[in-house]
Amino acid sequence: MPLRRLSVVMIAAVTLVAAIGASLALGAVSIPLRDVIDALTGNLDPGPFKQIVTELRLPRTVDAILVGASLGVAGALLQGALGNPLASPDVIGVTGGAGFGAVLILLVFPGSIALLPVGALVFGLAAAAIVFAVAWSGESRGGIGKLILAGIGVQAFFFAATTATMVIYSDRVQSAVFWLAGGLVSEGWTNTEAVWPYFAVGLIAAAALMRPLDRLALGDDVAASLGARPRLIRLIACATAAVLASAAASLVGLLSFLGLVTPHLVRLAGGTPSHRYVVPVSALVGATILLVGDTLARVVAAPVELPVGPFMVALGVPLFLWLLRKTV
């Protein structure tokens, strides 16, 4: 692997390890790193430190890594499959659907708050399913323009439904605002246990899609003449991205900016569009960005937690714009 690509991987990996340490040690209460390690290896006596590390911060750290990796991969898959640099989970309707599913539970059925991740997941997938059903119909089935237009339509529909629900239940809107802004919570393993299979399936499918997506680079005709099935590959890649983005939304709310930006960062920094590089490194970089963002959001104004979504965007956009200006 050329030095430039390797150094991007190394920098991201070192930052991620440092962020894992910081995420477990820092927060409203600072815990010495040695105690953190002892808590993880089971050598720390039961007490508040052990409880904070293993029951609050570890699940949150794992969630951040899973979600960051999944959003990075989802973005890389979508941008690759659609050949469009603007593609993100918004484009296939997932963000709108998941947002509506969450708001529905939060505002209309606040008694069933435990169903929040399920609601986001189910509606995110349902929105993507509608988009795919429309885009894979008729003469131009599987066409990129048709898919993107269907996605924008479905996205607009679910955003309208979300807004309408918030207006109708305006007295309860407070609880939905934080979720829509996007952010991690320290609530143990319950939600992670419910949705981890979706992450697993999505990430494994993404690994199998890397080479087929590379073969789409020269266009559908070339890919088809080489024996690939471009429309099928595109459908599977989009469906995989939908699963990953819906599962991510179910844990942290709406953070689709990460899915848009991460693959671009990887391509700009690594200097190659090959999916065999961009997909796995987007997982690494996405996980790193989200974990660093979440840790900073918890620490900067501790004990107050800033919402990680807006915080990350505020930090990430200048970096992104700087890279964009420098390279293109």
Binding site: A217, G227, P273
Partner: protein, 259 residues
């Protein structure tokens, strides 16, 4: 090698191709010519398996195309599309590597043999000197040679090129024409869809004239592209002349209305 008979193609509810024949053999270059919208590209795409035929028969080495799917077909014929995508950030070498993909399984890596084939394809198409350049920095002629290299990396015995010279200047067109002729002389079966009748006459062993969705004539260029044929199919008063070294000229009475 390729034998297509009575090919009919319907796209949506519109019948684009009514009945067309196309035969290609090893070591021969056959040019498919005809007016805009006559169905030349559709015939080439159907023969190459990129467009499903609604009737007729298409076979490669005697095997019906319906039974040749995916990578099996990719090892029999390469296809150079009319308007290939030019992606950002992709280098010539990476693009030609994509052309090798029918030989590489889903979870395999490129072998030495694959890398050699990629090297040979770049050499043959004359793109080795810009192997490390980005596709987006190439001229139209250079890009077309890269497309030919992508096709050659497949190492298929037949090559179908859909209007490879339509956006090129005179020099670049001539270079592509010479390359395709040389490939036929090397033993490949070459199908060339082309507008330029002078170019077709110079390089082709045989031309197939497509008009209104039908193949209306086939044979050696000068036998087929007679003044009567040009008047019938293109509605012009014109005739072709040929000399040595592929020296050809198309004389057209541009200002005479021939309808």
């Amino acid at each position: 090698m390729l034998e297509a008979r009575g090919v009919q193609v319907t796209i949506g509810s519109k019948e684009i191709l009514h009945s067309a024949d196309l035969v290609a053999n090893a070591g021969k270059l056959v040019a498919v010519v005809g007016p805009n919208g006559a169905g030349k590209s559709t015939l080439a795409r159907a023969a190459g398996g990129l467009q499903r035929a609604s009737a007729g028969s298409i076979s490669w080495n005697g095997e019906p195309i319906e039974r040749l799917r995916g990578r099996k077909l990719a090892k029999l014929r390469a296809f150079i599309p009319q308007r290939p995508r030019v992606p950002d950030g992709v280098r010539v070498q990476d693009a030609v590597t994509i052309g090798r993909s029918p030989h590489i399984g889903p979870f395999q890596r490129e072998t030495k043999a694959d890398r050699d084939a990629i090297e040979r394809a770049m050499e043959r198409a004359g793109v080795t000197q810009y192997a490390d350049r980005l596709l987006t920095t190439l001229s139209g002629g250079e890009l077309q040679r890269v497309q030919i290299a992508v096709a050659l990396a497949q190492e298929a015995p037949a090559l179908i090129a859909d209007e490879p010279t339509s956006h090129l200047d005179l020099g670049a067109s001539a270079a592509v024409a010479r390359l395709l002729r040389d490939l036929a002389d090397d033993g490949l079966a070459v199908v060339l869809v082309v507008h330029d009748l002078a170019l077709a006459t110079a390089v082709a062993d045989e031309v197939v004239v497509v008009s209104d969705g039908r193949s209306v004539a086939a044979g050696p260029p000068l036998d087929v592209l007679t003044g009567a044929c040009l008047a019938d199919v293109w509605h012009v008063d014109a005739h072709l002349e040929a000399g040595d070294a592929g020296h050809t000229a198309l004389h057209v009475a541009w200002l005479r209305d021939h309808r």
